[in-house]
């Protein structure tokens, strides 16, 4: 009887635990890439990173096969001017979400292969070891402008 009870408890544990874990995983929402204007070989990628887990995490890298290099940037005000600065990582605290959006954090993609169209695949790497691959649509000015005002 006791063995049977123990087995049931174990079975329930193994059934329920993965559900709890999967709920706590870091995820990416609404990724998009700005269509680079003709003649420009740089552009930016944006997204929202949600971390419902109990532990904080850090975004270390976002790469794309569409560009020669990529880096994490933040646009910040300096007096009345705007400057872009490289950041080593972007923190995503436990239970919070962080937006990479125009005028703030962004992934700078440099040395774009001649044309990016429709969508590109972004590979994200986190401090925790988590790796996420997402498909990001490539957006033209009207749609990109609409998205830019989303976060105001």
């Amino acid at each position: 009887m006791n063995v049977k009870k123990a087995l049931i408890v174990l079975a329930v544990f193994f059934l329920v635990a993965p559900l709890a874990w999967s709920k706590g995983e870091i995820s990416v929402k609404d990724p998009w890439v700005r269509q680079n204007p003709p003649g420009a070989s740089v552009t930016a990628a944006y997204m929202v990173i949600e971390n419902p887990a109990a532990a904080g995490d850090e975004l270390l890298e976002v790469s794309c096969s569409c560009s020669a290099s990529s880096s994490l940037h933040v646009t910040e005000m300096r007096e009345d001017s705007m400057a872009m600065k490289k950041v080593a990582s972007i923190e995503v605290p436990a239970g919070e979400s962080v937006a990479l959006s125009p005028g703030g954090y962004h992934v700078m993609l440099e040395g774009l292969s001649s044309d990016i169209k429709e969508s590109v695949i972004l590979e994200l790497k986190f401090r925790s070891g988590a790796r996420i691959s997402v498909t990001a649509p490539v957006l033209d000015p009207p749609e990109a402008t609409r998205r830019s005002h989303h976060h105001h």
Binding site: R34, N36, P37, P38, G39, A40, S41, V42, T43, A44, H73, T75, M77, R78, D80, S81, M82, A83, M84, P102, G103, H106, M108, L109, P141, P142, A144, T145, S148, H149, H152
Partner: protein, 196 residues
């Protein structure tokens, strides 16, 4: 009793005066969305993205929206240009012109601006000139720009003003839209009011 009436009348009068003053200021100042930004009058001549000369004074009678940037800028400049394209669509009239003045004239040649700027709107005009000329326009707008070296000689960014400046149909600098006020609908509202 009579005293009370006097006090009440006096209070009512004071209230009326307050309403009159603030009501007046409210309708007069509060009606433009942009921040008031009067500056000494100025003019400039630069080269547009079709290799023609562009003089500010040739465009009096129009509302001019002026913005600084460079084509190698992936985040702020395209966001602002997309926003300006939307303003021009909303205004829907030849009475408004948007200018994109490069702060990176070394890399932003006429040819480069010629393919880059029309991507956002066919009525945005890209402008370039010498460093000296571009610095003068920045000075006139009360702002500045500076090169920031990156990893290599060819890798640099340009720190610059993200604001949009509005020059009224009389050719006077009038309003400034800082980064947090780049709302196309509200800017279009100001432009339409000035074109009435």
């Amino acid at each position: 009793m009579k005293r009370h009436y006097l006090v009440l009348t006096a209070l009512a009068l004071i209230a009326l005066v307050w309403v009159a003053i603030f009501g007046f200021l409210g309708t007069d100042k509060g009606s433009f969305y942009g921040d008031e930004y009067p500056r000494p009058a100025f003019d400039f001549s630069l080269t547009d993205h079709q290799n023609r000369e562009f003089s500010l004074s040739d465009h009096s009678g129009k509302v001019i929206l002026l913005n600084f940037g460079f084509t190698n800028c992936p985040d702020v400049c395209p966001t602002t240009l997309g926003m300006l394209g939307e303003v021009l669509d909303l205004v829907g009239d030849e009475g408004a012109v948007a200018l994109f003045i490069t702060v990176d004239p070394e890399r932003d040649t006429v040819a480069k601006l010629g393919v880059y700027v029309p991507f956002f709107h066919d009525r945005i005009i890209g402008l370039t000139g010498s460093q000296q000329e571009i610095k003068q326009v920045n000075d006139a707008c009360g702002t500045f720009y500076s090169k920031e070296q990156g990893a290599s000689e060819s890798d640099y960014g340009v720190v610059h003003s993200p604001a949009v400046y509005l020059i009224d149909p009389g050719g006077e600098m009038m309003l400034r839209y800082p980064k947090e006020k780049l709302d196309p609908k509200k800017i279009a509202g100001d432009v339409k009011r000035l074109l009435l």
